[in-house]
Symmetry: C2
Subunit: 342 residues, 2 copies
């Protein structure tokens, strides 16, 4: 098995050059900046590429040019339409600029996320999109050292240290709590995502607590049930909450799936929603309006975040000096899962 000139198998740029009877440099120019090569060469090269079935070797390109045209995205979970939709949009916009999106899931684990980010950096991504602010400082250092632009979504940075395209989880949750207080609720409870290492979940909890405090109310720790962000935890937590006495009249959920679970479980327990207890969600995902009762929830600016974060990174990569993006607004979507307490 000798390895001679075997353009058959895996043609390289050099094979194309030889076949088109131009220099490798010209082929490279053709690939990167076609309008600097003559029509004549262009035609020949195009033909050769087609004939040889040439596919450029991205790793070699990355190595030589120090640009990978890849953008890394690490989301907490793929097992959720929330980030799925977000990603679709982002990828679409990013693709228009000729970038490839590579995505990985951290499974809501910071350690896992660190590994993923390091791997992406190692693979030479030109930019990174992150969800949430809280992660090891060393990650930010790495990104800064390597001069890799990044943007944080689903959060805002009060300290202004990191570029964020997002909303205030604290204030958003406050909105929900205010609404419920306004309805006359006094006995609150919350079903939350895991708080540790999750600035979004803890921000939401704090938002609720601050509002309650303002009104002379409180949310004791026993009435905050923490767990994974899924329907099952919503169900279990709701069941637990309903066994507490005094029984809370309002269940604030830190994410829609938790609220779904709560509503499902209310059926099983024979608890009337919103008659006996009011339930709220967070994010306004697709199922909300189809639930019985339809879910009152907080709409987060998912599409906006997707697009604006793409825009931000694109500008950044173009070298434009973009300011830090603004904080986005959220909307309280009032449906029928809440009422005044009996």
């Amino acid at each position: 098995m000798k390895k001679l000139t075997t353009p058959s198998n895996n043609p390289t740029l050099e094979d194309v050059a030889r076949h088109a009877d131009v220099s490798p440099a010209t082929v490279s120019r053709f690939m990167n900046n076609p309008n600097v090569v003559s029509e004549r060469s262009k035609k020949k090269i195009e033909a050769s590429i087609k004939v040889l079935n040439y596919v450029p070797h991205a790793a070699a390109r990355t190595l030589a040019s120090k640009k990978s045209r890849m953008i890394g995205v690490i989301v907490p979970s793929l097992d959720d339409t929330l980030f799925g939709r977000f990603l679709e949009l982002f990828q679409q916009r990013i693709a228009e600029e000729g970038y490839t999106t590579v995505v990985a899931s951290s499974n809501y684990s910071t350690e896992n996320e660190s590994v993923q980010i390091t791997q992406m950096v190692s693979h030479g991504v030109d930019a990174v999109l992150l969800v949430g602010l809280s992660r090891d400082e060393s990650i930010y250092r790495l990104l800064n050292n390597k001069n890799i632009p990044y943007v944080v979504t689903w959060a805002t940075d009060a300290l202004g240290e990191h570029p964020c395209v997002g909303f205030s989880n604290h204030d958003a949750a406050s909105r929900v709590a205010e609404y419920l207080v306004g309805l006359g609720h006094r006995e609150f409870s919350m079903i939350s995502g895991t708080l540790k290492g999750n600035d979004r979940a803890s921000g939401r909890l704090q938002g609720v607590r601050d509002v309650l405090a303002k009104h002379g109310l409180s949310l004791p720790d026993e009435l905050v049930i923490e767990g994974p962000l899924g329907v099952e935890h919503g169900q279990k937590a709701f069941r637990l909450l309903m066994s507490r006495s005094p029984r809370p009249t309002a269940v604030i959920c830190g994410a829609d799936p938790l609220a779904y679970g709560a509503v499902f479980e209310s059926k099983i327990l024979g608890v009337d929603v919103p008659g006996d207890v009011s339930i709220t969600g967070f994010d306004d995902t697709w199922l909300g309006p189809h639930l019985t009762p339809p879910l009152t929830t907080l709409r987060t600016p998912q599409n906006q975040m997707s697009l604006l974060s793409a825009e931000y990174l694109i500008s950044k990569l173009k070298g434009e000096d973009v300011g830090v993006p603004l904080t986005l607004d959220v909307d309280l979507i009032v449906r029928e899962s809440c009422s005044s307490p009996a």
Copy 2:
């Protein structure tokens, strides 16, 4: 701005070697096969890596070794928990072997998919996971030319041309149809995903048709409503179907979200399920049991596919000569959305 020896910014393997006072080759060995370097060198190198904050340059590695340790996955959509869960599992297993998963969504478009695959190949992925069988022949040629192992999921290949880890969409849909026929239904209809370029959707349709034919029944084209795989299409299609006369007594949905939509719409229309009409789903996704009525659906072996396809690719990458994987079983999950027609 001179560029001298600046290990500060972006340390290379050479910097590490210099700092550890060994040759680059030894550092490389340390990175790839630590047990061939002496304890002494190992210690020194480890220390230097830590001090310099060295992150290997994956593109350079790929170029030199012709291995990227990346596995590409192209799914039809990320906007769906179906593939999300699948991906999480796959990624997890693949990571255990030291591979990185890079995922992209084709948005249910074959052209789009071709671009994505080409890009992944260009980026040097070591293997590829694909969903569904139908795509341009040139894609398979590309993969074969470049000698990139791939596996197709959510399908089986009757011709045995491509390695598949999946189930027969045709037979699975047949199961559903048989069940409904057994219940006494005669007037069938189907809400399907887009058929063009989607072997899974068309396989399912054909499966239904074959069973009906066997029983002397038929499914006319007007009673097959084709569209995007979402709740909205399910709703619209169901409404349309209910306006047909004779009104079908069974609505077979090619995917769970379509069935969700149908059930939601039935509430709005005041159509009783399963009294007036029976509805079935496909895939057995999480919402099914929580619907009113709980959805009868067909459980596809998602976790199995995820794990087995990972296993297949891993073996293939290790050079083991694995046989083509087997066809997996599906289960009909009978809940309460079906009954005998009035």
